[in-house]
Subunit: 408 residues, 2 copies
């Protein structure tokens, strides 16, 4: 007999949202058409801009198809340095930037570099799903706090401070993770909140990690502040990449940025580079394409400008139509492209958001994502990327579904 | 004060061969031209075939730039199934194949899925460098055995059996790794040896892992046997990919193949798919390109035929010229494109292969790799991919270097 084949840790390799697709796949296979408001894949709805595709094609035609430096080609690193100078007046050095295979790989490098078994990372709910398996695969645990829905999903920094003080003695805390702008809430954290978080990290000697992958998809008058603008002298890591702002999800190009010069930051950037060397290289021609995508400021401005206007319009339209449903209550997003309404499950007589979402899919052929997949039970996540006609039709069905269920 | 920032495991994130490049980079920066016989990057020397680049460009132009199924697009999975049917008469099912970001990612999935702290994997020296950090990052340890240089780098299966018996009681052994064809020795394991290894794995209930990334780069009359042809009923994993056979190193497309139907194989393939779901997706257009690269048998035959003839010619040329050096002794390779001579360090009065390699680089501007990076001290690895003129010039310098040192 073989002993147990799998490792202990392997039980944490798990994508809770992926599992939910099985029902949808069965329905589609039976020949029915499902409206999907569950796919946060911007390049499905907005084709990758032509100037980026041209640069990708050029790289292939020039035979840029061999391995590259493991932390990324110099052209790409330079382009990222230019971006941070332009947007945040930040002077990054070459060694501050590690190219990754999407933010997913950045999460692996981060947690594998930092966490010993039993260590904790502070994670605010609702969270981006993939944070959790990456923490747990490294033997760590998420210490959950909550974004405050009543305060437009802001962080209650007094509560954060209390928790840090209380748990500091008991358990190792390695880092505080924030997602700004946020998936799935669509919130942009204010400068005041960020300043308090930086102070707390500094006082209690915790590393700050800010996932800023949506940092250019900001609207409704909101203003984005990068943690890198405030955290000078405090060790911090920024996760970013090409997927959202550059509308290139399938390229799998991400960045880890460690701007600090302090001892901890120096250790981190060297170690992330070591992890990169273990996996040899990132897709070569995609790196050239993204270097051009970032460098060509004029074309990028056009592309992102159009995209953000469209997204703002679609999100606001969807929020308005969802607002007509008396069983939903939501904070209006001002970034990314997700809406996270709270559902009045009790009035609708559903036991869980999962049951609600599955039943909506079965009876109305509309697929959305259960909030519990993001640590936000009694919520649903709606992706507002499809055009308004599709969105309108899907929300009609959702609203009808609730009305019928309640008997109104 | 921040506590120690990095995790315990992070010390294992380390690429020993990468480190050696620093000296070479300094020399190149000083304006000197170095002949590199250290880069196993086939696409640097043989441009990726045009039909593959065309398919890549087509995928981009058709906007195949969004996320894909995490275990790979159906077109690619089908192509891989077709390949294994064609080459080895193997009937793979869709779920037997997981697309990875190069074999590197396959090594991560493999070790993270299998190893608990303290578990062992049997690794034969000389080994492909990246096996080791991946084992150690998962908390495991390599249990080293040696390919037998005196028997043309074959595996001594009696010795293997003795070691398995001896250590089985003491420590957990999860898998036996073989590299066939081998980097860095260029050996193809014979069918008889493979049969014995399969029997041992079966008898002692160990998982077999075969890295077969060079399985079409075989020459000098050698015949390759895939472990999948012999290990029916014995749980085994094949690592393969597009980098070498399809001359597409920078695409980062690998495969993990688990053909078995037994309980262990079923657990493994499901878990590898779970790991894939945690990192979301592999580069999308590269998957379409590789699907076409595998499917287009006619073009592939032309491309691989030319490449293997050229490699055979260059390797045999280099072996002949290296054979003129009385301080080197080597087994003639019949696969891949590496030559691994043993150096008579004593006669040359060098303390280590590292010292030899560094001194050759400094004084003759020829970069090769120290064998100790692959667990083969007193050896050097030479990549025979450059054209014969370059190879000849580099080997002249190497031979002169030895002659001068010895005073002959």
């Amino acid at each position: 007999m073989y002993t147990m084949a799998l490792s202990e840790r392997s039980k944490y390799a798990f994508n809770p949202i992926d599992e939910d697709n099985e029902l949808a796949e069965r329905i589609v296979k039976s020949g029915k058409k499902v409206i999907q408001l569950n796919r946060g894949d911007i390049s499905l709805y907005f084709p990758t801009p032509k100037y980026i595709e041209d640069a990708y094609v050029k790289a292939i035609r020039e035979n840029r198809t061999s391995y590259t430096r493991s932390s990324g080609i110099p052209e790409l690193i330079d382009a990222v340095r230019g971006r941070y100078k332009r947007m945040f007046n930040l002077n990054l050095k070459e060694e501050d930037i590690i190219t990754t295979q999407g933010v997913s790989e950045g999460l692996y490098f981060l947690n594998a570099s930092l966490l010993n078994p039993g260590n904790h990372a502070i994670i605010f709910r609702p969270y981006y799903t993939q944070y959790i398996p990456n923490i747990e695969l490294a033997g760590g645990k998420a210490y959950y706090l909550d974004y405050d829905e009543k305060k437009e999903w802001d962080i209650d920094t007094d509560e954060l401070e209390n928790h840090i003080k209380r748990m500091k003695k008991k358990r190792g805390i390695k880092y505080i993770m924030i997602t700004n702008p946020n998936n799935p809430t669509g919130t942009v954290l204010g400068r005041g909140t960020l300043e308090k978080i930086v102070d707390l990290a500094n006082e209690h000697k915790l590393i700050l990690v800010s996932d800023e992958i949506y940092d250019e998809i900001v609207y409704n008058g909101a203003k984005f502040t990068s943690i890198s603008q405030l955290a000078k002298g405090v060790p911090h890591v920024i996760l970013n990449g090409a997927s959202k702002n550059l509308d290139a999800t399938g390229f799998r190009i991400g960045f880890m940025i460690v701007p600090g010069e302090d001892r901890v930051s120096m250790e981190l950037k060297r170690k992330f580079a070591d992890f990169a060397s273990v996996r040899v290289s990132v897709n070569a021609p995609a790196q050239y394409a993204i270097a051009e995508a970032i460098r060509n400021v004029k074309e990028h401005k056009k592309a992102i400008g159009y995209m953000v206007r469209e997204i703002e319009d679609r999100v606001n339209f969807a929020v308005k139509r969802l607002g007509e449903n008396p069983y939903l209550e939501m904070v209006r997003p001002n970034s990314a492209y997700y809406i996270l309404p709270r559902i009045d499950l009790k009035s609708l007589n559903y036991k869980s958001d999962k049951e609600f979402v599955d039943e909506l899919l079965r009876s109305k052929l509309v697929q959305i994502t259960r909030g519990s997949g993001f640590g936000a039970k009694s919520h649903i996540r709606i992706v507002a990327l499809p055009d308004k006609q599709t969105l309108g039709e899907a929300i009609n069905r959702l609203n009808e579904f609730c009305m019928k269920r309640s008997g109104r």
